[in-house]
């Protein structure tokens, strides 16, 4: 059943401050909507629950990519096309560019935003594994001020995040200190474009004297939200890449992953493939 669109309110203030004031003042909660690639699907299907929306689309305070000497700061309103087109992201943050390239289709990449992909909090979202591997920070804003926290602490439970009702995700910051890191990302699904992943892994690692000095692994669809595989990481630090190390890492993934059976795949398949993907990366180190 199609929704009755006249039941929905949508306002489009022309500044971030005006949006934040509305979120702070309004007794009825307004739901932010950016490129609409998630919420408008629910509208079309007649299952869009909230009735009041505030548009963030094209707010210039949220749609920017700033390159500092030590970090890149991506406004939450940047589209996947903005991300793919950015020369520094293409050059230094290739697994984020890669994830952006398989987030929906070209038309969806022209509308979907990085911030939307994060706050929608799907366990299967395409960009979070790369952001987790890069140890990105997220900055949240409200009329009360701004706060920054590691992205890995942003998701609290299925579809629950750190965001307070009056807060917006403002930007994502990634350190440019990635010298000597090898990177990996792979999405397993029916096809790259327009298909939600069964499981995805992004990872970066640096070797020192033949040993794994540092490794960070981000995963989609292995938990109720996008998550780092921290126990698996711990099992690998300081090790050489041997058959034993790989076997132990595979066991760590299987122990740490808590995937579900659903329409797209089974828990067993997801966990096994995640272990395969990690092994594929480890063999390149």
């Amino acid at each position: 059943m199609r929704s009755n669109v006249s039941q929905y309110e949508l306002i489009a203030p022309n500044s971030l401050d005006a949006v934040l004031q509305i979120l702070a003042d309004s007794p009825d909660h307004y739901t932010p909507i950016a490129g609409g690639t998630e919420l408008m699907v629910a509208l079309g299907a007649g299952r869009l629950q909230p009735k009041k929306f505030v548009s963030l689309w094209n707010l210039e305070e949220l749609r920017f990519i700033e390159v500092a000497s030590d970090a890149i700061i991506i406004g939450a309103g940047s589209t996947f096309t903005d991300i793919r087109k950015h020369p520094v992201i293409a050059d230094e943050f290739s697994i984020l560019a890669q994830a952006a390239s398989w987030t929906g289709s070209i038309a969806n990449q022209n509308r979907g935003t990085l911030g939307g992909n994060i706050v929608n909090a799907s366990p299967a979202a395409d960009s979070p594994p790369a952001l987790l591997a890069y140890a990105a920070d997220v900055t949240l804003v409200s009329t009360r001020g701004a706060r920054t926290l590691p992205y890995r602490d942003f998701h609290l439970a299925y579809k629950e995040t750190e965001l307070e009702p009056d807060e917006l995700l403002h930007s994502i910051t990634i350190s440019r200190n990635l010298k000597g890191y090898k990177t990996y990302i792979r999405k397993v699904g029916p096809r790259y474009a327009q298909a939600i992943s069964k499981v995805a892994i992004a990872a970066i690692a640096r070797m020192k004297n033949g040993h794994i000095e540092n490794i960070r692994i981000g995963a989609a669809s292995l938990r109720e939200f996008p998550a780092r595989l921290t126990a698996t990481e711990k099992s690998l630090i300081g090790k050489t890449v041997s058959a034993e190390t790989i076997a132990a890492a595979r066991a760590a993934v299987l122990a740490e992953a808590r995937p579900i059976d659903d329409i797209r795949s089974t828990a067993k398949y997801r966990a096994t493939v995640a272990a395969n993907l990690l092994e594929e990366f480890l063999r390149t180190l």
Binding site: F53, A107, N110
Partner: protein, 155 residues
């Protein structure tokens, strides 16, 4: 609510609820029925239009977000009742059968050729990866896009 935008080079004032899908505004209010509803969830590309030159699925755009935008639908592509060169190539190469996906395919091709005047097969496949066709098996569509690039349809 009144929303003002430019559609196919003509300024339009549209009276519509702000969350109404651009697709429905085009089809119901403006009687521009070239954009089709396939899936209604941004998967098939049959409703694709260009907003400020960017390919978008009009089923996922609340019309308020089109305020001030320049929109091109398939009706705005043909020049003086003559087919656009991309349309001509789709015709000659058999890139259209039932026609439901064709407006979106043609606009996706336009967007692709704006970015890459001479796209590789891989770039063609990626450029059209959000446009589904149940008739052609895609090869004839890829040929049409290739042909369009050869005749310089990007201009």
């Amino acid at each position: 609510m009144t929303i003002t935008c430019v559609i196919n080079n003509k300024e339009k004032n549209i009276e519509a609820p702000p969350m109404k899908r651009l697709l429905d505004v085009l089809r119901e209010d403006l009687h521009l029925t070239g954009a089709k509803e396939g899936c209604g969830e941004g998967e098939c590309g049959a409703c694709a239009v260009l907003i400020n030159g960017d390919l978008v699925n009009s089923c996922l755009v609340p019309v308020l977000q089109a305020e001030g935008a320049e929109i091109t639908t398939i009706e705005g592509l043909a020049i003086d009742e003559r087919l656009h060169p991309i349309q001509q190539c789709f015709l000659e190469e058999g890139g259209a059968q039932c026609g439901i996906c064709t407006p979106g395919m043609v606009l996706a091709t336009h967007h692709l050729l704006d970015k890459y005047a001479q796209p590789t097969l891989l770039q063609i496949q990626e450029g059209l990866n959000g446009n589904l066709c149940r008739c052609t098996g895609y090869m004839r569509i890829f040929n049409a896009v290739k042909q369009a690039s050869l005749v310089g349809a990007a201009e």
